[in-house]
């Protein structure tokens, strides 16, 4: 495990790495653990006990903003211009891709997941109206808030 930025063997200051995560009951925590730390494979790997578990996405943003040692993950909609986003490459040698609505939708940015809505049977009445709203007008709101809308 890397403990200091210098360990990466590249230019930059020698500083300790402060890991930030959401609480263990958050969906992002589980997704990040399964897809990034365990690389989507069966494994016993876990977050380091040194990882700071923040009670909210805003907690992560606040610490990222004021602490140059901190690195964390967060939903795309929580990222403000005063936070630096990092590009990610799927495999060694692949190009590094920054997250955005476009790179997520065309699959170039690898760390993303869908959110699903489930109904009991074919949606009817108010449920159907709600889902229609989400799939129609709501998509614009999702984009406006900085999250990734559905492609079609």
């Amino acid at each position: 495990m890397l403990k200091r930025y210098e360990d990466e063997g590249r230019q930059g200051e020698d500083r300790p790495i402060v890991l930030l995560s959401r609480e263990s009951n958050s969906g992002t925590y589980v997704y990040f653990l399964e897809e990034v730390i365990r690389l989507g494979e069966e494994s016993e790997l876990l977050f380091s006990p040194e990882t700071l578990l923040m009670p909210s996405s805003e907690g992560i943003s606040a610490e990222i903003r004021q602490n140059p040692n901190a690195i964390g993950y967060d939903g795309l909609g929580y990222v403000t211009p005063d936070q630096k986003m990092l590009g990610v490459a799927k495999d060694a040698g692949d190009p590094y891709v920054l997250p955005s609505a476009d790179t997520v939708n065309d699959g170039a940015y690898p760390i993303s997941r869908e959110l699903f809505m489930y109904t009991a049977g074919e949606p009817q009445g108010a449920v159907k109206a709600y889902l229609d709203y989400i799939l129609g007008e709501g998509q614009g709101l999702i984009k406006a808030l900085g999250f990734v809308p559905l492609t079609d």
Binding site: R15, P16, I17, V18, E23, S24, N25, S26, Y29, V30, L46, F47, P49, E50, T51, L52, L53, M54, P55, G59, A62, E63, Q66, N67, N69, A70
Partner: protein
């Protein structure tokens, strides 16, 4: 007065009704505490049954991956609490001594209400203050990797425990008879010598009570601690642990209770932590109560 003219039976009835209401109110407090305790036991005991002892005392708290070592959490709470008391005790006693023994009466009239106001600040406000203003300073001044540390939590908790410590310590100083001060001064002691060698030692048991009450306040505090300590469930056993993140028992329960599946081991584990916290707080209060008891037996003096 027309009491005599009132029918006896009616007076007796209203008296009985009032007495019953007061009695029920009194006993219900005890009843509620008992019920809460029973509920806590019912929900928490399965944790201690289902999880083997060696795992329970393990170093890793990964409740969503069946690792239930509560040791980092217990030690985290103890570290933050003790550190906060060590900060609050000298500050609190010094303030109490100043307010009671040194300050002119106009200063006392300003200070005492201000201390009451201090007690009224909501913990979430202090937590936000700690997160945005204190944490960056701690990181830069102490050179810690992050400002969200056990020490930051201890500072905020000390601030929250201060009003309790000050007012209880002040009462204790107040209970020291004036004749003690007069005798000391008459023998040629300076004011400082009188305070340090006579008045404060005479109020020792009361000051101890103040510490215990402050400790009880600190160990149970949740919101502010969750916001400023970083919540990393690491073992705080290295020397630098005070300036590293820490996860307390209260913050764990508060952070995880919202999303836990009811009836799961994790759910019982959170109540198990509640039991551990209850026992710890009870022991502290017991120590505080025995100090008060001692004080009474000795007539308010040491």
């Amino acid at each position: 007065m027309k009491f005599g003219a009132q029918p006896r039976a009616r007076a007796g009835w209203s008296e009985f009704a009032l007495e019953s209401v007061v009695r029920i109110a009194g006993f219900s407090t005890i009843g509620f505490v008992l019920l809460i305790f029973l509920f806590l036991l019912r929900e928490g005991i399965p944790f201690f049954v289902e999880v083997p002892l060696d795992q329970l005392l393990g170093r890793y708290w990964y409740p969503t991956f069946d690792r239930f070592g509560i040791l980092p959490l217990v030690l985290g709470s103890i570290l933050v609490t003790i550190a906060s008391v060590l900060i609050a005790l000298p500050l609190g006693v010094a303030t109490a001594v100043f307010v009671r023994e040194v300050a002119p009466s106009w200063a006392r009239d300003i200070l005492k209400p201000l201390i009451e106001v201090l007690a009224g600040i909501p913990s979430v406000v202090l937590g936000f203050f700690g997160m945005t203003l204190v944490a960056p300073v701690i990181r830069e001044v102490l050179g810690a990797p992050t400002g969200l540390t056990a020490f930051t939590g201890a500072l905020i908790l000390a601030y929250m425990a201060l009003p309790t410590v000050i007012s209880v310590a002040e009462d204790a100083l107040d209970a020291v008879p004036k004749s003690y001060r007069d005798a000391s001064l008459a023998m040629g002691a300076t004011q400082w010598q009188t305070i340090w060698r006579v008045v404060v030692p005479a109020a020792k048991s009361g000051i101890l009570t103040a510490v215990m009450l402050g400790m009880g306040r600190a160990i149970g505090e949740t919101m502010a601690v969750m916001m400023v300590t970083g919540n990393a469930a690491r073992m705080p056993i290295t020397l630098d642990s005070l300036v590293r993140p820490v996860r307390t028992m209260t913050a764990t329960v508060a952070a995880e209770m919202g999303e836990v599946a009811q009836g799961s081991i994790h759910y019982h584990a959170l109540f198990g932590i509640g039991i551990a916290l209850f026992v710890l707080t009870f022991l502290i209060n017991l120590a505080g109560a025995s100090a008060i008891f001692q004080k009474r037996r000795r007539g308010g003096l040491r």
